[in-house]
Amino acid sequence: MINNTKTIIQLASEGKRLDNRGLLDYRQPIKIETSISKSAEGSAKVTIGDTVVLAGVKMSLEKPYSDSPNEGGIMVNAELIPLSSSEYEPGPPGIKAVELARVTDRGIRESHAIDFKKLCIEKGEKAWFVIIDIVPLNDAGNLFDAAGLAALAALKETRLRPIDEKTGAVDYKGTTDTPLPLLKETLSVTVGKVGNHLMVDPTVEEESSFSARLTVATDKTGTISALQKGGDEPMTIEEVGQIVDIALDKAKFLRSIMDECFKNKK
């Protein structure tokens, strides 16, 4: 792919972008659709401009880890499927997919967004484990933010399956009204550095022009729960401060879209 890195840097110094957006504007439309998969316990499809990401939640009953016998758990997996971009090839997840999964995972896990103790059914024996699978349908950049939104929307929509009393196994055909014990709603915002300028919601082309990026996961109160710096170039402490400010502001914006989506649903 041809990259107009020089043009992107020059435009950024004038506060402009290739698609006429401001440096701190998200693409439009931003859409969150839930219940896109009836097979999943919770699912969502998030659209940011041309980027489309699906997230699906499956619940399973497992033996808790020995260091936390009275807690359930979470696992996030991302697959960059070749359907979504000509850049991806079939096969086991590469480093890009692993990073996407782990950053999304930490945002949810480390903020203690889910009350894992409430997921325990029998201490040391049986607990609910939440498995979130993230797949882009069309990768047009900024998978981090789209994946964060999709994962949160899918978690909010998740309803537990009943447990068969005789066998103790999950009855995947049944449904209940029990939602996940969600304590917080964590969202991530990725800010990239182009030349000496900061930019949100990059396209694929802009992403590859980033000298550095920082993903910031925050909750409603503004508490930061996960950070991930990427890119080859360093970042100053001042820049980190600026980025966190931008991320808090943009998280508020994304949160309002999320709230709107779930308000309409009710």
């Binding site: 097979s39 999943a40 699906g56 069309n138 999950v170 995947y172």
Partner: protein, 275 residues
Amino acid sequence: MAYEKRLDGRKINETRPMEAKAGVIPNADGSAFFKIGATAAYAAVYGPKEMVPRFLQDPKEGQIRCHYNMLPFSGSGERIRPGNKRRSQEISMVLKAALKPVVDLTDFPNSVVDIHVEFPQTDAGSRCAAVCAASIALADAGIPMKDMISSIAVGQVDGTVVADLNYNEEAYDAIVSDIPVAMTNNSKQITLLQMDGEISKEDLMTSLEMAKEVCEEIYIVQKNALKDKYKLPEGFVAKKPKTNVEKSNDKVTEEKSKPETESSNEKSKEDKEKQ
């Protein structure tokens, strides 16, 4: 007891509700979404592009590659572990065989067309949905095709021949057979045929005839999806192309003596009327 009334109340030759859309994945050269009942498929076509590694290239014609995959949360039971399984490998193979007869890549030697099909949710009949979605995506990508392919599963549930079995019918506690069929639309030839279960020759023939009829309905859904993509927006009025009528009129007033301009003026007027 014979299977007289279908579990979900459909007529014996009635499919589950269908929905199709072309051009859903902007990155792809062609793409489609096809939904039948609770089975939903996304298909994307990338290519023709150079086949690498090069020893796989065919200098006579381009090739197609298919990749069928169920997303981890798309199963009706536990989460499906990602990765290549024998089942998806085999379905990828029959999917390729189902589409190959209509795809004409003789103009694209040494190239390959990749077809990826992914499922966010499934409820039986996924390979048929894959064929339907892939066929729309190929046409959307502008790949030369001799015909469209439509596909449906037919079969026998406790002695009754039905179309488009859902999961509950496949799992019905009696003698059941499930026959996925794919057919070309114009020539009505079979490009995919599999079957498991038990069936008599008579019922097999009835099933195939039923598949032929049902494929006709699916074809209309597929065709409409493609037409919808290229439909002009509502209230769209085509701009009249600028002809040189006005210009040549000026010329006529200026150079009345020249008969050539006159004739060209008339010609362009004729053209305009035709348009």
